[in-house]
């Protein structure tokens, strides 16, 4: 079995399904409030800023910066054994919300806080794709 097929995949909730459905098509979308324009992450039923329900899903630029990051050396899950050391980061999107992702395509020791990054999509099993971030082209 290949490594990719062993890696955990997200289990979407009704609130997050549109995000993961878009990711399957290499589209990076976030919820935006129809009422006040606030964007947020992770997706939830109502706008955390004004309480309005029924957010729309809008394309995010996919650009952001590394707010903070860690480098995993310990293996917590067998599927990540061949990936250590790997980077888990808090990415601050250009639109404001923050999300957890891996920073890939760069040696862990080269990653820095505030480093500009851009989204890519990593295929997992069953057509599921996971947004990841790579250093932005300067």
């Amino acid at each position: 079995m290949s490594e990719t097929s062993d890696l955990p995949v997200p289990v979407p909730s009704p609130e997050t399904k549109p995000f993961w459905d878009a990711a399957r098509e290499d589209r990076f979308v976030i919820p935006r409030c129809e009422s006040c324009g606030h964007t947020w992450f992770p997706p939830s039923l109502a706008c955390p800023s004004c309480g309005a329900e029924h957010p729309s899903w809008v394309a995010a630029s996919g650009r952001g910066r590394v707010f903070s990051f860690v480098v995993y050396h310990r293996v917590y899950h067998r599927a990540f054994k061949s990936r250590v050391p790997y980077v888990v980061a808090v990415i601050e999107l250009e639109e404001g919300p923050r999300m957890i992702a891996n920073v890939v395509g760069v040696a862990p020791e080269k990653v820095r806080c505030d480093m500009p990054v851009t989204v890519v999509f990593e295929p997992r099993r069953d057509g599921i794709k996971v947004p990841q971030f790579v250093p932005a082209q300067s």
Partner: protein, 397 residues
Amino acid sequence: MTTGIISEPRLRDRYAIVGVGNSALGRVPGVDSLALLEQAMRRAVADAGLTLAAIDGIVSRGPDDVYTHHQRIGQRLGINARFSTTLDNGGASQILAVALAVMAIDAGLCTTVLCGYGRNSWSRTHDNAESRIQTELIPQEQLPREFAPEYGYFGAVATHALGARRHMHEYGTTREHFAHVAISFREHALRNPEAMMKEPLTLEDYFAARFIADPYGLYDCSLLSDGAGAVVVTSAERARDLKMQPVLIKGFGTFNNLRGWTADRNMIETAARQSGETAYRMAGAAPRDIDTAQIYDCFTGMVIAQLEDYGFCPKGDGGPFAASGALRLDGALPTNTSGGQLSEAHVEGMLQIVEAARQLRHTYPVERQVKGAETALVSGHGGNTVCHSTLILGAGV
């Protein structure tokens, strides 16, 4: 909603901790968390010179999968209660238990409350090979199902290490600063016969240790322990008739950054600030009045951030403050004088309350005693890393 609260000085010095106890600590195989807590609670009651007949309240907590925990422990102790409940606020629960005990007594619901917490984390994670891999203590069905596992984002170490990294980036904090926290507490543990860690820790040891989630290595992380602690809370008036010198509850405060660890500046500026402000105001105290601090030391960097947020040094100076030797028994602010969760045992902040009370009673041999300790600050932190509680205690007469 972060300003404008006036905490209630009416409660200052009107309630007291009159008995403290801890169970066997460290590696206690074959004993579950309820049995450990029962032992600690019985010792706390005996320490107060009371019998269980005097206890009419219980606020307890245990591992997250025990339902109505207070009933299970009350059954073991063989008592009914006018007031009892189980708390759920992670490592911030234990101080909250003391605060809730005060509020319940003040409301006339009960008179004398046992507060305690016990866990058997060492045994649970060393039971077999599978449990060694999965050190996560949260029940499987409560773990996140997305936005974490697909990224290999597991465990409390990495969560806190994210905050440590950002602190390093913004303030120039270094791993050597973290090391001084661990080394200071280890020195304290070597004076504590009950502490799990028995060997000195050097800078060389610290840097030679393996990384868990960089910037945190092995010695940045608190211990997995079996153990329990308990305290008896009653009114200062009743305390006068008891055998032990009471430890007065001067103030307490809580604050929970419920928007989350990755939101706002929560991973750098902790809720210790607001919960501390509330506690200081109730106690009529300021950072300069604190003789010893017992800080929730789940990880070294969290100690540094909290020391800053409590006002013991300017924001961003916590690293140099720790490296100056301030946290040592003879330092400016003797901190985690039992060895803390990094070197004594990790009982989610319960032992920090016990240690503060013991220091204020001046019953330790001179090599463990904070000289002239009259006021102590205790912190609790947890609940998905954003919930915080603060307790300020004073020596009674």
